[in-house]
């Protein structure tokens, strides 16, 4: 039982009102894997770096127990991204992007990776996402992320990739852009009509939302807020570490569609809360600094907080549970 991620490993230079870092370990596959390995191992990583990639960062991956047998080292420079956030931390201003070796990246899965069961296709060219899918033998669950660029310039390939995966995980503006409508409900229906079983819409500080095709539309809808933090230092990697917590929980729960309807909904709902918890830690510090030190106990604490944040009435696990408890004298409305 293994998790596989294909995405970017990058050197990030980030400025926010609260500090900055230069050439820190970043990239979608990095954030995802550092989050997911908390929940389940092994996590196999497929990406490319240049010959300039610091040994210290390679050592970091090993210290996290992330399998980097699939991390290609190509002649040239590593992918570099440089960005800045203002006090409104919702959107990054990209200052510079140097694709370098990432520009000619073609994922080649080591033989043992082809049996991976939980596959996350991070935000890369959907043509490459399809190449990865064709190399996987029998995945239990496939999830993809994307971005506005691919919606604008690779829509056909992206549509094919969306049709091929179990779950699509994208941000709100991208869902609207892909479906060409302001209504998120309509956008969700359009994306789900292509084939995926579920759509998870990331809304940044407004949390995340699930739309599911397996259930009737009312039942299949779920919201998780974002954790109310007093201070966010660096929002970079929130979405990818969300995906890591989400997939990590699903792998740890041995989730595999199809299952009974209610069952599916509940574990996916809980996975979304786990994603939100992990993302809330990520943004507390720059780069992967907070993810380095966090533990499953940290996860458990905030997971409990989320129950309180959304609680307004008891929901009993059995249909007449509240009544039976009341009859036992344990509780009265």
């Amino acid at each position: 039982m293994s998790i596989l991620v294909v995405g970017s490993v990058a050197l990030d230079s980030i400025q926010t009102p609260f500090g900055k870092v230069r050439e820190a370990l970043g990239g979608s596959a990095t954030y995802f894997s550092v989050a997911a390995r908390l929940y389940h191992q092994p996590v196999h990583l497929v990406a490319v770096v240049g010959t300039d990639f610091p040994q210290a960062h390679l050592d970091s991956f090993r210290s996290f127990n992330i399998d980097i047998a699939g991390l290609q080292v190509a002649e040239g420079q590593t992918f570099r991204w440089s960005g800045r956030y203002d006090y409104d931390l919702n959107t990054a201003e990209t200052l510079d992007t140097q694709l370098n070796v990432f520009a000619s990246f073609h994922p080649q899965l080591p033989e043992e990776y082809r049996d991976a069961e939980y596959v996350f296709l991070a935000n890369i060219d959907p043509v490459l996402q399809l190449e990865v899918l064709s190399q996987i033998r029998q995945p239990k669950l496939t999830v993809l992320d994307t971005m506005n660029y691919w919606i604008s310039y690779r829509k056909d390939a992206l549509t094919e990739a969306i049709s091929a995966v179990d779950i699509v995980l994208i941000n709100e503006a991208e869902a609207r852009q892909y479906a060409n409508t302001f209504s998120l409900v309509r956008a969700a229906n359009k994306i789900l009509s292509l084939g995926p079983r579920a759509l998870v819409v990331k809304k940044g500080e407004y949390g995340a939302m699930l739309f599911s095709r397996d259930l009737d539309p009312r039942q299949g809808c779920f919201f998780a807020p974002a954790y109310p933090l007093e201070k966010i230092n660096d929002p970079t990697g929130a979405g990818d570490s969300f995906a890591g917590g989400f997939m990590g929980h699903l792998a740890a729960s041995k989730y595999a569609p199809p299952q009974a309807k209610g069952q599916m909904a509940d574990v996916i709902r809980r996975a979304i809360v786990h994603g939100s918890v992990v993302a809330s830690y990520t943004v507390e510090d720059f780069g992967v600094n907070r993810l380095r030190t966090m533990t499953l106990e940290d996860v458990t604490n905030r997971y409990s907080d989320f129950k309180r944040f959304t609680y307004f009435e008891p929901v009993c696990p059995v249909a007449d549970g509240c009544e039976r408890l009341a009859a036992m004298g344990g509780w009265t409305r």
Copy 2:
């Protein structure tokens, strides 16, 4: 036991991408009272209109069983507002505001209104909100709303009014503006430090959030999503009808602070869900059209939907309830 609202009654001309209305019945006190009367009566309304105010609108108030003994009719024209929404329905563009008789409005409470127990000070000059408070004998619960204009030009009076009420109910941008910080958690702490027991932050399509001073910060935080509608026709009045459902539920529940800690939190949480339900109906049609026809059965249906939207794990009403139910054979994790 009565509900009192002081605010505006207006003639609204509204354009959205989905239609338009001219000189429709509007205003904060209107939306509030049409929503609140579903839950609890009597609802006393204090506002001012001009001699041009249509008899049909007065008849509407009477058909809703809203007590308009406190609706002053002044020589001159009624307050008129004209606005337009684009596909992003989150913000209105004001095309024209004619205060007319509203400019010299001073709320005078009829004698029988001074015993009102649930008092909503809708978005008016905080100087007038304070005038109203001074006329009320012994309210059980006072709630105020405000807007950016008063934060900019009447900050001292607004601060005094905030300090005098039990609950502040404002939108997200206004909370940030008032506290002069981007962090909503810090803004909430600042507002709560002035005295109110709770702050309800309205976030439009992103729902609503409660911060409470009576409980420890973790416990006191609550989120309710907005109802996921496929189509919104006119967002006007969403906030004021939210307030109507919120106060209506609190009045119907005979809520009065102080109560035991958990007790308070739960009824306020449920009141926020009721506010969200009512607002979700309001925006489905222009003006108060949908509020005219909706019933408490409609409320119950969407209230149940909200439970599903936020459910991810059973929450038992007694500490070991899940274990006891499991022992009874009714349920296993």
